[in-house]
């Protein structure tokens, strides 16, 4: 029954002269999201709107699910097309549309979800729009006439022009478009409009969520993963690829840089106090991530840190790890509780993967009592112990990194 979708976008509507850039990015992301969806689609921009037209049979649920993953979309309206065969016919079509879309109104006596429980009536408003100006009735006339037809057909419906339960849009084009439902989209901005950032992706719950949140603001995501064979397994790496894929479902292709971190980690283990291992290790991770970020035109780093979650995420520890970077470090989860993060992880379907029990490189040598209030001067002094060999090891880690392009 539905032939196309009208795509609503909230925030990008207000971007003034740059608006077309945002719309183009949105169209591109919609096309990317629909590539794997069954059916042929055309995505077009007309009159300041974006339509997705189905050119073949398609799976409605699957298509809506795909569109729900495109940042920038605030609402998805399934549209019914009817031929323009005169006003009489349009009246019939509108009555049938209401009946088909809201079967509980048609079978009017039943308990309907759209029926206002207090009044027992469903309120509505017709919003007609003539893109084709030679139509015999103008918009106001259409609103009035079609409203009357609906009132006659469904005695349980009432007009409310201020807060209607159903807002029926009637658009006169080469064909006539009818729509009234709005399926909420993910919001945000189209990916690609906000530059690119480098996500530090571990195998945990937090980092994919952090990446998703920044991608939501239109930022393209690349990721870096620190691999420590033989201490971390091939499955741990596969898990990170799977997590990157969950981010790619929303953010488009993710370039995943896999850095072998074992030698650096063992070198720090040999030369530095054990309770500072995690902090010093993270400082080197940030240094390496920033280096890759610079080489790949990223404008910032993203981490999944949240204050106080573990010893390395106290304010003092964050200050110590942050100190090695000049690039901005975005920490979108900084004020989130674990449960709030888990809620999003479940929503984006990364949670089940994150809880697989493979060890990541942050935990393999973790001290029983790691420092929680690292003193930056002392950390820096202990890092002096690494002077002899660390540059070479970092160099080697960078030159041997593997790049995996993770597609949605």
């Amino acid at each position: 029954m539905y032939k196309s979708f009208l795509i609503k976008y909230a925030e990008i509507g207000v971007k003034g002269k740059n608006r077309y850039l945002f719309e183009e990015a949105l169209v591109k992301q919609i096309k990317y999201a629909l590539k794997k969806t069954e059916g042929e689609f055309a995505v077009r921009r007309t009159d300041g709107r974006i339509y997705v037209d189905a050119l073949s049979d398609f799976d409605f649920e699957e298509t809506v699910e795909s569109l729900k993953k495109v940042f920038g979309i605030s609402g998805i309206c399934p549209v019914v097309h009817v031929e323009d065969e005169g006003f009489e016919k349009l009246c019939e079509d509108v009555v049938r549309y209401i009946g088909d879309t809201y079967p509980d109104i048609r079978d009017s006596q039943s308990e309907a979800s759209v029926v206002n429980p207090r009044s027992g009536f469903t309120t509505f408003k017709v919003a007609a729009r003539r893109a084709r100006k030679n139509y015999p009735l103008d918009s106001m006339q259409l609103n009035v006439e079609l409203g009357g037809v609906i009132l006659d057909a469904y005695p349980k419906m009432r007009v409310d022009v201020h807060k209607p339960d159903i807002l029926l849009h009637v658009e006169i084009r080469d064909k006539i478009y009818l729509y009234s439902e709005i399926i909420p989209g993910p919001g945000g901005m189209p990916v690609g409009t906000g530059g690119k950032a480098m996500l530090l992706l571990s195998g945990g719950i937090d980092s994919p969520v952090a990446g998703w949140m920044i991608a939501k603001r239109g930022v393209k995501i690349d990721a870096v993963y620190f691999h420590a064979p033989p201490y971390t397994s091939e499955r741990a790496k596969q898990k990170v690829v799977d997590l990157a894929k969950k981010v790619a479902d929303y953010a488009g292709p993710v370039w995943l840089h896999v850095v072998n971190f074992t030698d650096i980690q063992l070198y720090i283990y040999d030369k530095c106090p054990h309770d500072e291992l995690t902090i010093i290790m993270r400082r080197y991770m940030m240094r390496i991530a920033e280096q890759i970020a610079k080489e790949t035109d990223c404008l910032g780093l993203i981490t999944g840190e949240s204050i106080g979650q573990v010893a390395s995420q106290t304010m003092a520890s964050l200050a110590a790890t942050n100190e090695v970077c000049t690039m901005p470090v975005y920490r979108p989860l900084i004020g989130f509780d674990k449960m709030e993060i888990v809620d999003i992880a479940e929503k984006i379907d990364s949670y089940e993967i994150s809880i697989l029990p493979y060890e990541d490189c942050c935990t393999i040598f973790v001290a029983k009592h790691p420092v929680t209030k690292p003193n930056l001067n002392i950390i820096k002094r202990h890092e002096q112990n690494l002077q002899e060999g660390i540059d070479e090891l970092v160099e080697k880690a960078l030159s041997t990194k593997e790049v995996i392009v993770v597609q949605a």
Binding site: P229, P230, S233, L266, Y269, I364, F365, A367, K368
Partner: protein, 384 residues
Amino acid sequence: MEVYLDNSATTACFAEAAQLMHRVLCEDYGNPSSLHHKGVEAEAYLRYAEETFTKILKVNEKEIFFTSGGTESDNIALIGAVMANHRRGRHVITTRIEHPAVLQPMAYLEDQGFEVTYLSVDRQGRISLDELADAIRTDTILVSIMHTNNEIGSIQPIAEAGALIKQKNPQTLFHVDAVQGFGKVRLYPKKMQIDMLSASAHKIHGPKGVGLLYLREGAKVSPIMYGGGQQRGLRSGTENLPGIAGFAKAAEMVYESLEQDTDRMYALREQLTDSVGKMEDVVINGCPGREGAAHIVSASFRGVRSEVLLHALEERGIYVSAGSACAAHKPQPSATLKAIGVEKELLQSTIRFSLSGFTTQEEIAYTCQSLEEIVPKLRRYTRH
């Protein structure tokens, strides 16, 4: 060098078995239940497989049933036997070191209100016949004891247990999970007074997804799946003919040279245990010498996490297992290792090496040398 020492998880399929399977899949693909020539042709493979196994086990054709593998065989044997005999009693006996394919059905039976006695094992992983004798009651309907343990290779006194069970209570059914023992030793259910025996193809160089259940004629077992009534109604479903043919071929080949192969494997096992046993702070688990399985060595390396050692060996092309493959994806420590009293600290430091007829002396020497290089290095870097 690639050294595959995880043969208790699965084995490489014999090329001859794979070739035969290809023929059954692509040429003689009929359904053995069909009346026409294609069906008759297919049925011949079923006959061939039945004959092969009756010869190997010295049993009747009517007593062989093909399943999807060890797990299904165990499930039919345990749940089917209990369902058919629950009016005679509600007591079942097994051991603490069984494979999950036995332990989980036992847990299910406990949920259904049956009483299960779990026999303890000694330091080498063997049950005590006295304890078994004490456990058998008039209402004991089933005893299930594994032949060879999959994690430490200990071998149970099956013949003695069979005699004991029948002497104490002739009505009690005796099931043996021989998934790790079949193809390594000669097993004769009649002589050993076994009523039911499970085996699996992919542990003996056959294909995955096929196993067998020996069921003594006269032993009452109910089906746990219903359908077209194939295999005398016990195991409905079109027979996995390519798998069954491949399984028979592999069994034929393994039993043809059984003694030479196991002698060779025992020699290789000794080479491995001698060398590893000499390393500092290493404990070998299970039975020594010929009392244990020819193909399994379990060793605990103090101060080394088994997963890390596994991956470090992997970097050198050596494939082993941490505990057993079936338990390795669960983070909890192995029940078998706990049952034989491995100290807590070593539970997560235990590696299983499992050999096959394809394993060579050079491979074992390379493995020993690699261990000597890797283990001290890994011990330097530990969690504090």
